[in-house]
Symmetry: C2
Subunit: 264 residues, 2 copies
């Protein structure tokens, strides 16, 4: 039996849901409301000491780390295969999944906060309440970043870095997709799975125009959206209210993002 | 034909050398003197746009990322196997290699700089020269960290973080090694490969006492040192002068490191 501890808007949880749907596996959902801090519940911390989603439970085995989950599911349920058999292509796949985890992932929360969450906070709170929201973060480095995202939005230095990292990703995706239809070669693989939630995040932020200059990326994302896994894995678990605010706030931030893209 | 672009003191390059020796493969060495900035040579950047070592070249195929290199070599040259066949143990192996890359690796340069390189810099330069060395780093965030490491050594906040991360690694290694002889199970695997250069770094810094409280780690490292791959992969490529300064400077910093370990 497969059980996934996950959450609607987590990009990492979405990757594992994609694999579950691509392999047409039955799985049980355990929703962890990260926005309510449920990842810190002692019972959950026993499963995942890092206090993040997702966590995969397969019979009596607990497996953490979404990228490891994806390879694990492909090891245990090999059909349809989501990894190239050629070792060189397999290496390219792993270079991409690693790059997404190490470089793109940290920039995604920066972008989402500076382009969307900040608007929700500023729209619904008095200046004193906003100050209190900033100060409830105890770690001084994290507090300084949060303050910057709320007060400066897309003008925050880290937000500019995020736009740069997404741009570098587009450039390099476009290059590999010029050579073959999927990221790691001729077949859909875990590299495509890994990137999908991140481009979907831009799309949910009304920022599809991010890849308009990259025809191969546009075509790839169109094909990703057409896969039967797209809606159930990437859209259906996102709470309506959150989807609405990502779309509206993202649209408000797009002008500035476009400016940053043009500046390069 | 296998060729490795590498450098003596790089922990990442050492991992790939371990795999090459464990599999008894013939390989050609291309030494990239990172301390002289050779990783920025245009010819090298073509192979590795990230400007880091190692880079593996197999016939006409270029593969970057040391962790990916290790899996690639095990895919292409499967004997002796360096990955468990059981999917759950394989997942545990990958959780460890990922943790080493994402958490331990960044802290290793912090520790090495604050515990050793700072002494070399302070011993051989006037205060004005030290200032110039700090100021040659253009990125303001990196410059501030460098200044902190040189001026504060192991009292720098990031150096304290590094000691904490190494301690957490020891605690968790000790726990899994209580259940089975190697990190991911009953057989030596890429998880053991991944951790070896990091404990070897502590050892080269005269800090073997870091794991004296962890008997399973002590026993594991003793077994790692006895493997025929240890000396050629982890020691022989380190320049003598660097080995000497790591040992001497590390010993000078140990008192403070020990204090930080005791504080927890």
């Amino acid at each position: 039996m497969l059980k996934l501890y996950h959450q609607g808007s987590s990009v990492c949880a979405a990757k594992v849901r994609i694999v579950l749907h691509e392999k047409d596996l039955d799985w049980e959902s355990e929703y962890v409301d990260v926005l309510q801090g449920e990842q810190f519940n002692p019972a959950y911390l026993k499963l995942n000491p890092n206090a993040v989603v997702p966590t995969l439970v397969h019979d009596d085995k607990v497996v953490i780390e979404s990228t490891v989950n994806c390879e694990y599911l492909d090891d245990v349920f090999p059909e349809p295969a989501l990894r190239p058999t050629d070792p060189y292509q397999l290496a390219q796949m792993r270079i991409w999944t690693k790059r997404v985890d190490e470089r793109l992932h940290p920039m995604t929360s920066v972008l989402t906060y500076s382009a969307s969450h900040r608007h929700t906070i500023l729209d619904n709170n008095t200046p004193e309440q906003v100050q209190a929201i900033i100060e409830e973060t105890r770690d001084p480095v994290k507090r300084a970043r949060k303050k910057e995202w709320i007060e400066m939005g897309m003008d925050a230095p880290t937000a500019r870095e995020a736009v740069k990292e997404f741009t570098r990703t587009m450039v390099d995706m476009d290059k590999v997709l010029a050579a073959h239809p999927w990221i790691a070669g001729n077949t859909y693989s875990l590299a495509d799975v890994a990137l999908s939630p991140y481009l979907n995040r831009l799309s949910m932020l009304s920022m599809d125009a991010f890849w308009q200059r990259y025809p191969n990326v546009s075509d790839w994302y169109r094909r990703i959206q057409m896969r039967p896994s797209f809606k159930p894995a990437l859209r259906d678990w996102v709470p309506d209210e959150l989807a609405q605010s990502l779309a509206t706030n993202g649209a408000r931030s797009w002008g500035k993002v476009e400016e940053l893209i043009r500046e390069g």
